[in-house]
């Protein structure tokens, strides 16, 4: 439903137009980091928005190529700092696949629980920041209130609040304790009514709906063109999720849905993430019920890993989409090549085409709904 959509009169070429370049960022409240967007504007209309990346480039891939696998492991928490667990999972998974390490089931279940907790905390940050972009200040603080519970839980078992580095080749750094299991259950019970409250207070707010419904449509075709994944592609009606498409870990044994909304507008992407939080709660609950006893570390994992020569890939579903690690090994302690396929770069790439002819405020809402983490773009 598109109501009162503005038409870009002068962009249609009827009047001689005077354009100017608006340099959005690298320091701008709406980019949430050092992203710079060079916008060619016609008044308030965006004619062309060209993202300029690289302000926080840290050569993550190159770093992987001159240190051992274990030395590189902490780096994976720092690519997308909001979903550190899943990113570590991607790297650890690739190494385990290459070295043929079998991870004990308890470790896999705990990996799922912590990854899903991490996904919820990441979506909560997005939710708060996105509403901040839309000019609603209060939800951020509510979101951080809930996120605090997750961070406390994860801090209890990993010792860190953001960059966990909890997974190790063959299992986990340590086993979870009773306090964590109890806390995770409590969190599920706490979060469900909160999500209901957020729906009543925010999702159904008339101003928010008017700002999101019909704004910034992204077609499935556009997503395919730029390789967009995660909530962006699911908001365009394609129910692609690595957890279902190429099930890893123990996701095959858990029952959950992949929310997808066909509208493709900012509202669809919003709803996908809100629904995903509910699905993550379902996954956590089931995984807690099924959690087997046993060790959390595979036996006989060599201290210095030498992967057999070859080319290995492992993909996980991070909070922002498909994160894939490709390792090329030439049978040395140090990988020949580490390729990180991060979702934010692909998701950002479609911004230029999707934002053409939009109003500045709507374009920034679209940018917010893509959920950018800048270090993930630049790596």
């Amino acid at each position: 439903m598109i109501v009162n959509e503005p038409t870009c009169a002068s962009a249609a070429g009827t009047a001689p137009r005077e354009t100017f370049v608006l340099n959005l960022g690298p320091q701008h409240p709406a980019t949430h980091g050092v992203l710079r967007v060079k916008m060619t504007m016609d008044g308030e209309y965006v004619l062309r928005a060209e993202p300029v990346c690289g302000y926080i480039h840290r050569m993550q891939e190159k770093m992987g190529e001159n240190r051992t696998y274990a030395q590189y492991l902490p780096n994976t928490s720092r690519i997308d700092y909001l979903s550190a667990m899943t990113y570590t999972h991607g790297f650890v998974g690739a190494v385990e696949r290459a070295a043929r390490i079998v991870v004990p089931p308890r470790a896999e279940y705990i990996r799922v629980i912590t990854s899903e907790l991490n996904r919820i905390s990441s979506h909560l940050v997005w939710w708060g920041a996105f509403l901040l972009d839309l000019g609603g200040f209060t939800p951020l603080l509510y979101a951080f209130d809930d996120r605090e519970m997750i961070l406390d839980l994860l801090e209890g078992i990993t010792g860190a609040r953001l960059t966990y580095c909890y997974y190790r080749f063959g299992g986990l750094y340590n086993d979870v304790d009773e306090a964590f299991l109890r806390g995770a259950r409590q969190f599920v019970l706490h979060m469900r009514p909160r999500l209901k409250m957020y729906r009543a207070l925010v999702t159904e707010n008339i101003i928010l709906r008017k700002r999101l419904i019909g704004i910034g449509p992204i077609s499935a075709e556009l997503c395919r063109k730029y390789g967009a994944t995660g909530p962006v592609v699911r908001g365009s009606g394609v129910a692609y999720d690595v957890r279902k498409a190429e099930p890893y870990s123990v996701y095959r044994e858990l029952d959950f849905d992949i929310p997808a909304f066909p509208e493709g507008d900012s509202m669809a992407r919003y709803l996908v993430r809100m629904e995903e939080m509910a699905q993550s709660l379902r996954i956590i609950e089931q995984a807690l019920d099924k959690l087997p006893d046993g060790p959390v570390m595979a036996e006989k994992v060599p201290r210095v890993l030498k992967l057999p020569a070859g080319d290995y890939c492992y993909a996980v579903e991070a909070a922002r989409g498909r994160f894939m690690v490709r390792l090329v090994s030439d049978n040395k302690e140090i990988p020949y090549r580490v390729k990180l396929r991060t979702p934010c770069l692909s998701n950002l790439s479609l911004f230029e085409e999707a934002s053409r002819g939009m109003l500045l405020a709507d374009a920034l809402a679209l940018l917010g709904s893509l959920d950018m983490v800048i270090p993930d773009i630049d790596r």
Partner: protein
């Protein structure tokens, strides 16, 4: 001593001195309000957001506005290179001055107005229009693209919203038959259903008229959800982007002074000014209670709703508020005619 004091009072009561004292009082009132409404806003926002708000400076953070003011005053006034220095410096003053002058005709209590003009209502709106010009001047002279876009927004937004606001005011002038704010309040004497807000026999849609006035007031003061001029996530700080130190401080104070003026006007026009709903407390206190209740609601709205889009804001005015206010205008004109014919 006592005699001296009463002599001083009578001396200050004579005309030219009385005006100076009253205007000084208004400046003090505005400064105090601006400073402490920031504190109220921050405290209220804190409560809405499950956090305590300022607590460090002074008891309950009460000295925070003083600290902020000192910091702003100590900062260098920077005029950006290439900016129109005169206009750039003049803009904050142009924002502040009309509010102070507007408050001069507001009757805070019986006989408590700096100047009682028989065209007080008109004067407030005449001066209020300067506010738009000042923001535009500020945005335009800073030579900044964000400020420029903000200036363009301010103009179209204020044009759109002054129309329904003035239509509402005309409705009120027709209903009361005067532009003298003191007379308007005096007419609303008696129990609270004599307040203009409840005068449904003159205009059955009086609460709607009040709502239109309230929305327009939110908009005229550039408050969320209509803070297009200062849309933080789009235009950084809009027209204020290049202002630092007290230049920004004065803009900031003017925003709160504008809220006070708008809420005072709403109190006078609709909520019976200093008239008390029941016979407790002096009139001035009742005026302040009503006004601060409205001020609080303005704060409440800001921390509850997200911002609208710019074109929806204009649509709301041109497609909804202007027709609605025209309708209430015609309706109350007809009702007044009918009432007069009947009596």
């Amino acid at each position: 001593m006592r005699a001296l004091f009463s002599k001083l009072i009578t001396f200050l009561g004579t005309e030219p001195y009385r005006l100076v004292v009253a205007l000084l009082a208004i400046v003090g009132f505005v400064a105090l309000n601006a400073a402490y409404l920031v504190w109220v806003e921050r405290k209220a926002a804190g409560r809405f957001q499950r956090r305590p708000g300022p607590t460090e400076v002074g008891p309950a953070g009460l000295l925070q506005p003083v600290a902020d003011g000192l910091k702003l005053m100590a900062k260098q006034l920077i005029v950006p290179a290439g900016a129109d220095a005169t206009l750039f410096r003049a803009a904050p003053l142009l924002v502040m001055a009309p509010v102070l002058m507007g408050l001069a005709v507001i009757p805070f209590g019986p006989g408590l107005a700096a100047r009682n003009l028989n065209v007080g209502l008109l004067m407030i709106f005449a001066l209020g229009s300067i506010n738009v010009m000042a923001l535009m001047v500020g945005g335009w002279s800073s030579r900044n693209k964000y400020a420029m876009m903000s200036a363009a927004r301010v103009v179209s937004q204020n044009v759109a919203y002054e129309i329904p606001m003035l239509l509402v005011v005309i409705t009120m002038i027709m209903a009361t038959g005067t532009t003298d704010l003191r007379q308007i309040v005096l007419q609303q004497a008696g129990p609270f259903w004599h307040w203009n807000l409840f005068r449904v026999w003159v205009n059955p849609l009086m609460p709607v008229t009040f709502l239109i006035f309230y929305i327009c007031m939110l908009e005229e003061t550039n408050r969320a959800p209509f803070d297009m001029a200062e849309a933080e996530s789009e235009l950084v700080a809009g027209a204020y982007t290049e202002y630092g130190g007290m230049g920004f401080g004065v803009f900031f104070m003017a925003e709160y002074a504008n809220i006070v003026l708008g809420c005072s006007l709403a109190t006078v026009l609709f909520l019976g000014g200093w008239q008390r709903p029941f016979g407790l407390l002096p009139g001035l206190l009742w005026f302040l209670i009503k006004m601060y209740f409205l001020v609080f609601s303005v704060v409440w709205v800001r921390w509850t709703f997200p911002r609208t889009q710019f074109y929806r804001l204009l649509n709301l005015s041109w497609k909804l508020l202007i027709p609605a206010s025209l309708f209430t205008l015609i309706l109350s004109a007809a009702m007044i005619k009918i009432l007069r014919a009947l009596s």
